[in-house]
């Protein structure tokens, strides 16, 4: 064996190692394969900056157009607003408006409110990509190649989940920076707050990408997967507090918002970045997201294991 190896591994007496001995030199840690797979996904992304750029355009448009155009604060502070017969001073009206905004959105401007919701939005969309890449691997035969190697079966779905998390967090960080540049109220932002926000997003992406990998593990049809993603993305987004405060939603929608993990990730971000009063305590938010992430990851692993182990 290994007659042509430029630098063949040698035993101490200078004899070339047999395959049996070389086996011992292998790095058989399951993490080795997991990192290789994660890095593969990330490489496709950071080596193609155009993809990164394109995936940032959407949230930036939402921020710029939606966030700035839907200026709820201006409804109350618009110049001629007053009640006929009463001559309320402008300063009193402004203070009232600001108070109303604070009560409804937890912050005095809608832009800041939405910008923080956007962090959940971009992370959620990143998580949904993981299933698509699973389908492509199956279609292109890459999955079969993986399966004929000693790669730990669990590393295959976990690699997708891990790369989704990393991509999601990097993109969320970029969106956060853009939001600050566009005028996010950064008066209450702290390092600990940012770290806590990203911990929440981490758990949310972990749970959702496990879910989408699980849905994709038996499918070789990218259209079906695309349909599932399209079916779920907007409802998950709108039936949460990411765009609008849950307390003003109709009562039938409230329970959905209450179970939607996107709400909790957003709730964490709002409390930590904007200092808003949340819909639940931070402890509850983290416990809920943690439970969601662990449950779906374990379920995803079990299901993938079943279908990937032949």
């Amino acid at each position: 064996m290994a007659t042509n190896d430029p630098d063949p591994p040698k035993t101490n007496n200078g004899v070339k190692m047999s395959a049996f001995e070389q086996q011992a030199a292998l790095n058989l840690s399951p993490l080795h394969g997991l990192w290789a797979l994660t890095n593969r996904e990330l490489k496709r992304w950071y080596k193609a900056p155009i993809i990164l750029l394109l995936s940032l355009i959407q949230p930036v448009i939402w921020l710029g157009l939606f966030g700035k155009a839907m200026n709820f604060g201006a409804i109350f502070t618009g110049g001629s607003f007053n009640i006929p017969g009463l001559s309320i001073p402008k300063s009193a009206l402004d203070a009232l408006a600001s108070q109303m905004m604070q009560q409804s959105f937890g912050t005095s401007d809608y832009f800041s409110f939405l910008a923080v919701g956007m962090l959940s939005f971009i992370s959620l969309f990143m998580a949904m990509q993981s299933g698509m890449s699973m389908v492509w691997d199956r279609r292109l035969g890459f999955l079969n190649k993986e399966l004929s190697t000693p790669l730990a079966r669990g590393a295959i779905p976990l690699g997708k989940v891990l790369s989704s998390i990393l991509r999601g967090l990097v993109q969320a960080a970029i969106v956060l920076v853009i939001a600050v540049l566009l005028g996010l109220d950064a008066s209450k932002v702290s390092v600990a707050g940012v770290l806590g926000t990203f911990a929440g997003l981490f758990l949310m992406v972990m749970g959702f990408s496990s879910l989408f990998v699980m849905l994709a593990v038996r499918s070789s049809n990218q259209d079906t997967q695309m349909m599932i993603v399209n079916l779920l993305n907007l409802p998950l987004l709108f039936a949460s507090n990411a765009m609008f405060p849950a307390k003003f939603m109709p009562s039938w929608l409230q329970p959905i918002v209450q179970v939607n993990p996107v709400s909790y990730a957003t709730d964490i971000s709002r409390q930590l970045l904007l200092g808003s009063t949340g819909m639940a305590s931070l402890t509850f938010d983290f416990a809920y997201l943690g439970g969601f992430a662990v449950a779906l990851t374990v379920l995803g692993m079990v299901i993938s294991w079943r279908f990937l182990s032949r």
Binding site: N4, F20, A25, N27, R44, R138
Partner: protein, 350 residues
Amino acid sequence: MSTQLLSGPVSAEQVRKEILSIRSLTKTFDGTTNAVDQVTFDVFEGEIFGFLGPNGAGKSTTINMLTTILRPTAGDAVVCGHDLARDAAAVRRTIGVVPQESTADEDLTGLENVLLCADFYGIPRKISKPRAQELLDLVELSKEANRKVSTYSGGMKRRLELATGLVNRPQLLFLDEPTLGLDVQTRAAVWEYIRRLKDEFRMTLFMTTHYLDEADHLCDRIALIDRGKILKVGSPRELKESIGGDIVEVEVQDGSTDFSGPVSGIKHVLGVRRNGAEYRIKTEFGEETAPAVMEALRVAGAKVVRISITQPTLDQVYLEYTGRSIREEHAEANTKVPRRGRMFMGRMRR
């Protein structure tokens, strides 16, 4: 296997040692049809073993089972000394697979693909880097090593698959239609690499191919499979001898009358098969039978248009055992590649 590895180089009497033993291997899909039915054969260390059969005969299913992608419904196999059912992980470490279709990640470069696959085997970078370079050099892709695979031609992708399949220095390499759909020059080149790699790494090769000339020239032994069953195993020479004798093919002008009767009475003739105006006469001695056939047909009133004597070829063996000509298979194989791919995926899902 490990004892043999420790005992040093393979000696002459060890050459016939089995590297792959398959016993009653069966795969049933949907609980009804046996895609692979009670398949039993051995592959010996150091040989090139060919797996021949029509489309859908069960070749890919068998390979998928032996490479641990599909779980057998019944039966056993020992691959490189490891039990397929009980120790799949050990089997995976000792085998290499070169699949039918390109499985490279097209967004990565050739080198990155080989290194990625080395990572799957847990090979540290200080070993895998020089090895990947060496393998890419061997398949003459060093210049293109840092180009994305999406820019590669079909032949280059096939060569990259070869390099990738060898990254763990397998003892047994599975090649599924390694030259399917390639032009003649590329086919010859790919075989040149395969032979060189085999000599270099002293591997055993298990391959399927549609090209009977390839199987004839390259394979030490061949298994014929059809409808999931093994029909015959042997060296190309043994297979040819097994169908017995020479073939005299005659074409007469009048296709409507059956002249089989007078022909079959001729000395040494073993059998006659008629297809319109064409007769395929199996005989022990072609040279003696041919003139007698001409004479018998003349007496019977038939005008001979064409006559040929052939020693048995693998094509004829194939026709004899499967009842189908490899030429039909050729045409099908070249036009139905995408469908085969899908079918393969469909089975994977179970």
